[in-house]
């Protein structure tokens, strides 16, 4: 019964953790937590918001514990970006290039772009999930969108020139 938003959880987790495998683990973890809490949640809407918040918290925790000194992961990240760089060389205009730009944004902007531009949540819901005011989210979103545009225009011009 929680399955309608398992894909959303997975996409959000993947946005933050980048690796598909880790995102799958995170989804699994969040779904189990949701399952345990299941009885307390009657409304599906509040459940979805809660799922998103839990995913966000879990992934950020995950990232924090890794940054606290796991050298192998730094190495993994390195090879990961290397791979997408190669892909980028192959076809500059493809989606993976956009993905790369988004993945390079700060975590908070990544979250907001994912929830607004991809999942199309209302600002009200995003504000609830992230525990921020709607105004702050609009500002961060605008900043993220402008950064993406800037990088894209730059590479676009490179292509022409």
């Amino acid at each position: 019964m929680v399955s309608p938003f398992k894909d959303k959880i997975f996409r959000l987790a993947k946005r933050l953790l980048i690796s598909t495998e880790e995102a799958e683990d995170a989804t699994q973890e969040v779904m189990v937590k949701l399952w345990i809490k299941n009885e307390m949640l009657s409304e599906l809407r509040s459940m979805e918001a809660m799922a998103m918040t839990m995913t966000k918290n879990y992934c950020l925790d995950q990232l924090k514990s890794k940054r606290a000194g796991n050298l192998t992961l730094v190495h993994n990240n390195y090879t990961d970006s290397q791979a997408s760089l190669q892909q980028k060389m192959e076809d500059v205009d493809s989606w993976s290039w956009v993905e790369k730009i988004i993945n390079d944004l700060p975590e908070q902007q990544k979250l907001i772009i994912q929830m607004r531009d991809i999942e199309q949540y209302e600002f009200e819901d995003i504000a609830k999930t992230l525990g921020m005011s709607e105004a702050t989210i609009r500002v961060a979103l605008s900043r993220a969108r402008k950064t993406i545009r800037e990088i894209m225009t730059k590479t676009h011009n490179y292509g022409i020139g």
């Binding site: 399955s3 290039w97 609009r138 402008k146 894209m152």
Partner: protein, 149 residues
Amino acid sequence: MVLDRIEKLIESYLEGETSIAEENELKVYFSSSDVAQHLQHYQSLFSYFSQAKEEQFSREILLPTKKKNNLQMWSIAASVVVLLGAGTFMYLENNKSDDFVACSPEDNPELALQQTQKALALVSEHLNTGIKSVRYINEYEESKDKIFK
């Protein structure tokens, strides 16, 4: 005309002021084939958004709470079976050793003799085990005498 509106929408999109409906309008525009030259670099952005929403979680979800309960139930069932089995075995073993039948020698001398022999055999068997352990002590005594003459 359409271009004007799209440009305006992009402007407010970048400011984070568009509604979901307006953003969908942009997505529709950029998914069409005739996008204005100077806006073309937005195309990959909006098509990426649409494509990214399609990605699905493919792995099956394991819910361990239910599984754990099952495991507990199974272990309880298994231990009950084992205990029952052990209990029955012991019970049968005990019954086997003392299946003496009460009888009087007058009525059935043959059976009485049999029973007596059986009883005596049992007694001697137990005695032998007792003697066996005593023999060890004798052995010990002998070797002790050899050393401390």
